[in-house]
Amino acid sequence: MKKAQFFLISLVLILISMFYVYTYIRSSDLSSTLFFERPATLDLQNMIDAIKLRNDRQSQIPPWWNSSWQYRETVAVSTTVGTGTSTVTLEVNPNVAAARLLSSSCTKELRMTNRTTNPLVGIESNVTAASQPCNLVRQEVITCGADSCTVTFDYYVYYGNANPDTPSYRNTVASGGAQAATIGSEEPETKTKLCNHFMAIYPKMGAQVSCEVLNYAGNKTNISLYYNSPTLKFNGTVI
């Protein structure tokens, strides 16, 4: 009788435990308890979406010249020349905020590329001062077949690098006086920090996350992503 009573009590306890486990879920996030885990599908989907959406957006703009520079802006400057071949000196003020010039050195940090070449390559330029305020100076050769030609040059100016080297071509062009230029909006370099962000945020949701940029294809990033939660596992590349 006592043995039967013992097994009966045990059975009741087991049933209570099963019911308890089945219905017990905390409402506050991150604190699912017992055998229930926070559903992970949305987190993984979000990481993949974030990579793909960034790549889609970035593929529509010219690729980045060098990922060590965090920002760039467009600069367009026009000049008018007479017939024949002329060498013109263009000087523009890039209006870079002091906080953005991370090395505080115009000589080292400000770099120019043409916007029309693909891939973008750095082009020679000089600066009028070692630190701000400074202008960028560049020489261009123009061949004009008419009495007068107005030519517009489109550049990218790159900045936002705390430890740049001084390029060899500085101090080769003299200042020619600042000209009016159209400065475009600032663009950020978005390749490098996404993985770090994932690895900082999503493990707090109870998953193991590993993320690494494998290579770049233009502005696109080919990212190796590993995600492991008790309910979902993913190991693959996303581009």
């Binding site: 006592k2 043995k3 009573q5 013992f6 009590i9 045990s10 306890l13 209570i16 308890y20 089945y22 219905t23 017990y24 879920i25 905390r26 409402s27 506050s28 996030d29 604190s31 308890t33 229930f36 559903p39 949305l42 987190d43 989907q45 979000n46 990481m47 979406d49 974030a50 990579i51 959406l53 960034r54 957006r57 970035q58 965090q70 920002y71 600032e186 663009e187 950020p188 370099e189 978005t190 920090k193 996404l194 962000h197 994932f198 900082a200 945020i201 999503y202 707090k204 949701m205």
Partner: protein, 151 residues
Amino acid sequence: MKIKSKKGFYFYIELVLAMLLVTVIWTQFPVSQQSYLDLAEQENLKYLGYTSLRALDLTEILPKFINHTNFASSNFTNIDIYMKNILPTTVLAVPEYILNETTCYNASGSMGRCGINTTFSDTTTVIYTFSNITDPISIKLYLKHTFGGHS
């Protein structure tokens, strides 16, 4: 004498099991106990929040109001308006912008520690990462049915 001793053994086993049960219930009792249906409803809210934020991103509303190079200068008022408008009026949503492990911006754009006050309790949350920015931002949306729901 032997039988008597065995009876005592079962008595103590029962006592221990009873104490164990009380202890487990007492120490592990949830903040709010919910049914399985509540979990399904919370999942629906999560999907609703996630797809809403994704829609705001794909329709270029988030990129328009989030400053790509300086998040603190984003237009938090307009982001809040769009978030409220895209969700049903019966859903209460409060965003928190996660910059990194320790730094967050609240709905009005003030920087501080992460975690919304518990005055907004019994919620579910979903995270959406906005990637087209120098320092990626994760928007953590705290969601709750204003009435009629279980959560």
